[in-house]
């Protein structure tokens, strides 16, 4: 039985196709304004990779910000559950997932069976989200993928303190004007983001075995800064792309559902 998981976020769309618990293919693309469009397109990308058509898919679970708008889903699940499920399946020792998405950051704690025990979202403002990094990358004219490697070259410690994404952008621009190095500014941004996210995770109590999911997890700068801010070593997800974790979890839900219905 072939199933799929589709995760439509505010910045990116992801799809995973799975057969009997094995991933056949996955796809990631930048989200369009309308989630339905993103869903169709990203699903097609994954299908093409697996050389399948929509007719081959027995069940689809949708998740993410635009989950209600995915035209072809059979069921929707929250990102909280999907990321937890995906991470737990990838690495059964995981007890906490920190997911930095486009609009929000979330920390989720799981019990020994992988069930969600507690979770928390970022407070009101959007600082501490993927959007924060995106705006900054734009302001600094640095490609999103290069943020991590660039920040690694930092030599001077700077700090960015503004809570508001928009105002933080101004702060960044003034640092540029002061002639500060881009690498140092980026490093400061990563630490600022990491500290905000760390306080989220801590408020629901961090133990050990923490992983990071979502696209931002691929940014080594944030990854390391978060480890530092939490005071524990973040675990890498056994070589699985952390960005597809939500879609993977959704696919796992689809798999379960199919097994139940057998």
């Amino acid at each position: 039985m072939i199933v799929a998981g589709c995760d439509i976020g505010s910045l990116t769309a992801k799809a995973v196709i799975m057969e009997n618990g094995n991933v056949l293919s996955d796809a990631i693309m930048r989200a369009k304004t309308r989630p339905a469009e993103s869903a169709n397109e990203v699903m097609q990308m994954a299908l093409d990779k697996a050389k399948l058509t929509m007719d081959d898919i027995g069940y689809v679970v949708g998740t993410g910000y635009g989950r209600e708008q995915i035209p072809f889903v059979d069921q929707v699940e929250s990102e909280i559950s999907c990321h937890a499920k995906g991470a737990f399946k990838t690495m059964p020792s995981v007890r906490m997932v920190i997911d930095i998405g486009g609009q929000d950051a979330k920390a989720t704690r799981m019990d020994d069976n992988g069930n969600v025990a507690r979770y928390i979202y970022n407070d009101k403002c959007a600082a501490g989200t993927g959007r924060f990094l995106e705006v900054m990358a734009e302001a600094l004219e640095v490609p999103l993928e290069e943020l991590g490697s660039l920040a690694a070259k930092s030599t001077e410690k700077l700090s960015i303190s503004n809570q508001c994404v928009i105002f933080a952008e101004t702060e960044v621009v003034s640092l540029v004007n002061e002639g500060k190095e881009i690498a140092d500014i980026l490093n400061a941004l990563h630490h600022s983001l990491a500290k905000r996210v760390a306080s989220l995770a801590r408020s629901i109590e961090v133990k050990t075995n923490v992983v990071m999911t979502g696209g931002v997890a691929k940014n080594s700068g944030v990854f390391n800064a978060l480890s530092e801010a939490l005071g524990i070593e973040l675990k890498a997800l056994n070589g699985v792309d952390p960005q597809i974790m939500g879609a993977l979890g959704a696919a796992l839900y689809a798999q379960e559902k199919k097994e139940l219905n057998k």
Binding site: S78, S81, N115, V116, Y121, D123, K124, S203, I204
Partner: protein, 466 residues
């Protein structure tokens, strides 16, 4: 403030709206249909009250009456006192003073009008109040500050020591309008002799203040009458709270709102007694039949609101609970901590009793009663100390067999936002899933209802509750 808003007297507008709403169910079907056509936004709100049966309509009548009292006060030679919902109106009724409770009026406005109390709230900020101060005052307060409501004569506020933003709003109002101000102040503890005495000393000062500015002497015979009424009311409140324990609970979610709205408006007033009688009667009917008070008659989940539960923007939250089959087993606002309530047994020193044997005893009674109003009682001190927020919430959750707890408030509630994260952690440690709502109970410009609802749904689903 928009010019069209300034065309109308606020009290009159609210009072007539509610009066008309209360009269609607007695009209013919045709009349009702026609009216609904003219109030497309209010239709759902009105129906949520009508569907609560007689108590629903009586709540509307009670609120209409409250405005009528304000509107006619000065013509009858009575003084109007601006006060907070944490101050029992009992003493004011005993002294023939008309209370104006901002929080209740703001809540009503948020329910009744499509744009809620936005214009009034913003007006407060236009005068200079910070936009971070609590929306529950800013609504009705805006009407008073802008001169669109009846003039108030003096201010009595009893939140110093309990809630800065609240106390600050009243202090600001008194200064802005140059009206006499009195503050009842509470220490950070309750139940010990020292704080008990402080309550009484402070209360006596307040009576002196009220006498001075109303020109009325406190009449102890009248006070006895009012307390007699309180006695009756407390017994019925205890009945309702006992019924909350039944599974399924026969008490509809919106009754909680009516219960405390009534108490904050008309404690010791026969109008409230009538409402309680009718709520008890209806709920008892359901209890005898062993059915849930929910419209669907199927109780899927029991929620205890560990802070306020009056998300009143278009009554969305109550309708949501009905839709999802969620029983509201109360909030800290519904508790009155009268000694005849079951939940006070585990919290010695937390309750008050009614003693009418002498004027002194009556004063003690009313001072101690006042010191046990919802916020005044449980968030005045460190949340994990004796008799405070955590103890109360856990006692109630256990007693009412709650499946989870939900925190709801306004961004203005500095006091609870200062401690709610560790509080929620402790609640979770006791086995209750706890959700913190990030909304504003009276202003959906802070978080849209769609977003609030989505987060609630997610919580119930992810935590395996629904």
């Amino acid at each position: 403030m928009r010019p069209e808003i300034q065309e109308y007297n606020y009290d009159w507008m609210m009072g007539s709206t509610l009066k008309a709403a209360a009269a609607l169910p007695t009209g013919t079907k045709k009349e009702t249909e026609l009216t609904y056509r003219y109030i497309p936004y209010y239709k759902n709100v009105a129906q949520s009250f009508y569907s609560a049966g007689a108590p629903g309509v009586q709540t509307l009548e009670l609120l209409a009456k409250y405005y009528e009292n304000i509107l006619t006060a000065h013509a009858q030679g009575k003084k109007i006192c601006a006060t907070t919902f944490c101050n029992s109106p009992v003493i004011l009724y005993a002294m023939d003073i008309v209370p104006v409770t901002f929080e209740i009026l703001t809540a009503i406005g948020a329910m009744v009008w499509k744009r809620g109390m936005f214009d009034y709230m913003d007006f407060c900020c236009e005068t200079g109040m910070p936009e971070t101060s609590c929306s529950s005052q800013r609504g009705a307060q805006g009407a008073v500050l802008s001169g669109l409501s009846e003039n108030i004569d003096f201010v009595i506020c009893d939140t110093p020591g309990v809630c800065d933003t609240n106390a600050n709003a009243f202090a600001y109002l008194s200064e802005y309008l140059d009206k006499p101000f009195f503050q009842l102040n509470y220490p950070s503890c309750i139940g010990d002799d020292r704080s008990q005495k402080y309550h009484v000393d402070d209360y006596k000062e307040m009576i002196k203040f009220a006498e001075r500015h109303s020109g009325n002497k406190l009449d102890y015979d009248r006070l006895a009458e009012v307390l007699e009424e309180v006695n009756k009311q407390d017994a019925m409140i205890a009945d309702l709270e006992d019924m909350l324990m039944l599974k399924p609970t026969p008490v509809p979610p919106i009754y909680n709102l009516a219960l405390y709205a009534g108490r904050f408006c008309f404690s010791g007033h026969p109008q409230y007694t009538k409402l309680l009688e009718s709520m008890v009667k209806t709920a008892k009917g359901y209890a005898d039949a062993g059915i849930s008070g929910l419209k669907s008659k199927e109780e899927k989940l029991r929620v205890f609101m560990c802070y306020i539960d009056h998300y009143t923007v278009n009554v969305n939250f109550y309708n949501y609970m009905e839709e999802r089959g969620i029983a509201n087993v109360g909030s800290i606002l519904s508790r009155n901590f009268r000694d005849n309530n079951l939940y006070v047994k585990d919290m010695p020193g937390s309750s008050y009793s009614v003693d009418m044997s002498s004027p002194e005893a009556m004063l003690d009674t009313i001072a101690q009663m006042n010191a046990r109003l919802p916020m005044v009682r449980s968030i005045r001190g460190p949340y994990d100390k004796k008799g405070m927020w955590l103890e109360e919430s856990l006692a109630c959750a256990k007693m009412y067999n709650a499946d989870c707890m939900i925190y709801n408030g306004t961004p203005g509630c500095r006091n609870t936002w200062g401690m709610v994260k560790p509080f929620a952690r402790d609640i979770e440690k006791h086995g209750y899933p706890c959700h913190i709502m990030n909304d504003d109970a009276f202003d959906d410009r802070v978080e849209s209802w769609d977003a609030t609802r989505e987060r609630l749904d997610e919580f119930f689903k992810v935590r395996g509750l629904l």
